[in-house]
Subunit: 370 residues, 2 copies
DNA sequence: CGTTTGGATGTAAACGATTACATGGACATC
DNA sequence: GATGTCCATGTAATCGTTTACATCCAAACG
């Protein structure tokens, strides 16, 4: 691999001149510049990134630490991150840690000196502390939806608002016994959704009932497995709000197998708006947390400070959610003016970004929260 | 940020000793080692990656260049790559270029000197040349399914075999007029699938008919949009094989809206086995190209040579595909012993990796090709 | 007791760039 | 013609490591 010295020798100039050519310095004579470029191309030379970032102490790279690459939600987040970073010519160093604090720590270690900023996506409650400790030495943005204000820049999904809107929607449809299938303990997203659900019940004057809150773990299997528990609750609920779509999907499938009609006998709703939801029968009513936007905005918060090599001010930004009303909640059963609309074909990818038609916009309005 | 010199001074040793401690050299006295570690922890020191890779000329990073991060298939590939790389403590530098050769070239430039090896995933026919030219200076594996043998290590999906198996399956179900919805021109995966389809028709003694080959672009919209064209073919086909699942999904949805029953009046099949397929009504018969495995094996091919800093021998490895028989092809309509089995609940994530039950295993056997 | 051996540690030269500062020549100014 | 200015270019220090080689000291050996 050719170095700057090879090019300098071959072009008959000093290494400083070659360096200047590759850094768009204006102080190089056009002919010299031309000549150097020609030689560089011939020698297949390109500045070595490691050497460059050693001396400039900037890497043009952003670290991204994830709990796991699995699942559509995270893959969309990454996509948002990648595209936003690319716009500013930043690269992405990926690292899928396992959500606990130790793994996070060692992942951050491995990234040290190779990134200008860090994005941490961790639903784990404990990880917030780790990130706070890093924040002094490296610009970092935490994508984390815990309720408390942390001593670092945080981007949160409006889980509470979304769950509130969803539960209100179920109440508005006439449901009085609304169950909730919770997410894993210690997951802040799950906890916030539960809080939103409870808030809506209180608001509607419905009694809180611990029996209505089923334990879950965000997996599809669990959504299917807890159907017997759901049906055993006395008196039987008429609706269940699942803390994420995967569980809702498992539940709808299992309910169908059990012979319970959805939504007539049991309304089921989810959270996340993953693509599969719109292909489910019945189509899944859910809350959209725009994963792409989440990634994009996280980069927007981080990048200016990463470039300036300054800590990101400890602010808390919230990404709003939107209620997406489809069939699984039974909204179509309640007579409304637009319930009979024929289903227009909607491709999953395109639709996810610009969904503004009648029924779902109505859902949005209904879901507006303060 | 503390450097090795700070630690050395504070611990009262030379920088060489500190370096040795962090490189598990056996030549350091236990007490010294202990002391250095203690000081390093106190100063929050960790070796700078850029400096390290400058001197060792190894980066412990792999570059990954993708046409676009979008879609479930690619996200699964990345997951396979990430997990396999992680096992060897390698990191992933992501770069989603736009499939053309120029973008690929500049993406590779930006990665120069920051990676030990490169994985290029490009279905574009022209990109193969670019990669060949890089292969001499950097270990690289191309994930590309073109028919020709290239002068670089290539990992290909057995598109031809998969399409052959699928078409044979439709023939075995009694179909005689089988249409194909093709992928975009210039996409090697699409072209190979078309070749496999044609081969199966020839093999079955069915006439080739250009009217049966519809142009497509791999998008769901296009699958829906070409339904009128499909229905206008005279005499009307009884089955259509779509070159990917997204198109098949669009088509199934649009056919249903048009009132054409699937699979009774029109059998529809796809390729890729994306998660949505199993939630479609009817469930989609497809060909599985295990994206996770693809990423995993690509890393397996690349990593040993990346570590040894040697070019990857120009070999062509093929990842086999598997026929996944579900309902959309009408197989359940044909009397078989297991057709009446109740549908067991299958979560998408788990099922994708260990699907060995009766019906689908049968599909695999039927799909076995030389 | 002198010599050898070998283990622990230190010294200094890389690695490949960037960039502050020095240099030198052309031109304008007085 | 001496001096100053400015532009293009060169020189050399620097970034934070790794590692070959040198050094030193204690133990082992004859």
């Amino acid at each position: 691999m050719a170095t700057i010295r090879d090019v300098a020798r071959e072009a008959g100039v000093s290494i400083a001149t070659v360096s200047r050519v590759f850094n768009q310095s204006a102080l190089v004579r056009p002919e010299t510049c031309e000549n150097v470029r020609e030689v560089a191309a011939r020698l297949d030379y390109w500045p070595n990134g490691a050497a460059r970032s050693l001396i400039t102490s900037r890497t043009l790279a952003l670290g991204v630490v994830l709990p796991d690459l699995h699942g559509e939600f995270f893959s969309e987040v990454i996509r948002g991150i990648d595209l936003a970073a690319r716009r500013e010519r930043f690269q992405i160093l990926l690292s899928s840690s396992h959500a606990d604090a130790d793994a996070l720590n060692s992942a951050v270690r491995a990234l040290r000196g190779r990134i200008d900023g860090l994005l941490v996506l961790s639903p784990d409650a404990g990880s917030a502390r780790v990130v706070e400790s890093i924040a002094s030495s490296l610009p970092v943005v935490l994508i984390h939806s815990g309720p408390d204000t942390l001593a670092c820049a945080t981007l949160a999904i409006a889980n509470h608002d979304g769950a509130l809107a969803m539960t209100r929607h179920l109440v508005a449809l006439g449901h009085r016994r609304i169950a909730m299938l919770c997410g894993p303990a210690g997951n802040v997203d799950a906890e916030e959704r539960l809080r939103g659900y409870r808030a809506a019940l209180t608001e509607a004057g419905l009694m809180q009932d611990a029996a209505l809150e089923l334990a879950g773990d965000f997996s599809e299997e669990c959504g299917a497995a807890c159907v017997p528990d759901l049906l055993a609750i006395e008196p039987r609920p008429t609706a269940i709000f699942c803390a994420n779509d995967a569980m809702a999907i498992g539940m709808v499938t299992a309910l169908r197998d059990t012979g319970v009609r959805v939504p007539e006998e049991m309304a089921v709703t989810g959270f996340d708006d993953i693509a599969i939801g719109r292909y489910l029968t019945p189509q899944l009513t859910t809350v959209r947390a725009d994963a792409y936007e989440l990634g994009e905005r996280a980069v927007g918060m981080l990048l200016p400070h990463a470039q300036a090599r300054q800590p990101v001010p400890a602010e808390r930004v919230s990404v709003p959610t939107r209620l997406i009303v489809r069939a699984s909640c039974g909204a179509a059963l309640v007579p409304t003016s637009d319930a009979a609309q024929p289903r227009r074909h909607r491709p999953l990818a395109a639709a996810a970004r610009r969904e503004e038609d009648g029924r779902e916009a109505a859902g949005r309005d209904r879901g507006r929260v303060s």
